[in-house]
């Protein structure tokens, strides 16, 4: 079936470096994508979203890029901080308005 997946299950970066987390999706009908951050013992926390009519969106220290041609989504975190350490999920909304989550990437920031 169609699914949302991630290229890498873990990512380790040095504090201050930029992080890039990737996500592949296969549902061409998906029109809305969200990146969530999940810290240990907590629920998913919204980071940034993008609709399918855009290819880039920027927030505070975060940028989401959407490439619909290859069905690829990425989250860029600038100047990564220890507080950014968490599991990051991409989620897509297909035709049914429910969010489908990817498997998650664990980001570890080394001081």
């Amino acid at each position: 079936g169609e699914n949302v997946g991630l290229h890498l299950p873990t990512l380790s970066v040095q504090e201050g470096d930029n992080s890039i987390i990737n996500c592949a999706y296969s549902n061409s009908a998906s029109d809305y994508f969200i990146w969530y951050k999940q810290e240990s013992g907590k629920g998913p926390q919204f980071i940034i979203d993008i609709r399918s009519n855009m290819d880039k969106r920027q927030g505070q220290r975060v940028t989401v890029l959407l490439n619909k041609t290859v069905k690829h989504l990425s989250l860029q975190i600038a100047a990564t901080q220890p507080g950014d350490s968490a599991v990051y999920f991409c989620a897509e909304r297909g035709g049914n308005n429910d969010m489908r989550f990817g498997a998650g990437t664990r980001l570890t920031v080394k001081p």
């Binding site: 969530y36 629920g43 308005n97 429910d98 969010m99 498997a103």
Partner: protein, 113 residues
């Protein structure tokens, strides 16, 4: 800042027992969701609810599951006869529009023994 609250934070139950997980969505939100996350796995959609009825449900949401909005503030998930494999984190989420951001609660950890 408004948030989704869930109770209890941890529920322990015996196999075969009924459990009710409770959620208070953000007050002006009209769309409500339940998700579950088995330990170490991804978040999985269970059900969405709008206008006092289920709008979507996944294959996980079988006859053992039900949802209800018993009053103007609570949104509950009931599992009629729990199985060992129901052990997971259950997250409630809400949004003010079907096409907008879903905000998640901190979750209820369900342990079925």
């Amino acid at each position: 800042e408004p948030e989704v609250t869930q109770t209890p934070s941890h529920q322990v139950t015996q196999m075969g027992q009924e459990v009710i997980l409770r959620c208070v969505p953000i007050s002006n939100h009209l769309y409500f969701y339940w998700y579950r996350q088995i330990l170490g796995q991804k978040v999985e959609f269970l059900v969405s609810f709008y206008n006092n009825e289920i709008s979507e449900k996944s294959e996980i949401f079988d006859d053992q599951f039900s949802v209800e909005r018993p009053d103007g503030s609570n949104f509950t998930l009931k599992i009629r006869s729990t199985k060992l494999e129901d052990s997971a984190m259950y997250f409630c989420a809400s949004s003010n529009d079907a096409k907008n951001i879903q905000y998640f609660g901190a979750g209820t950890r369900l342990s079925v023994l």
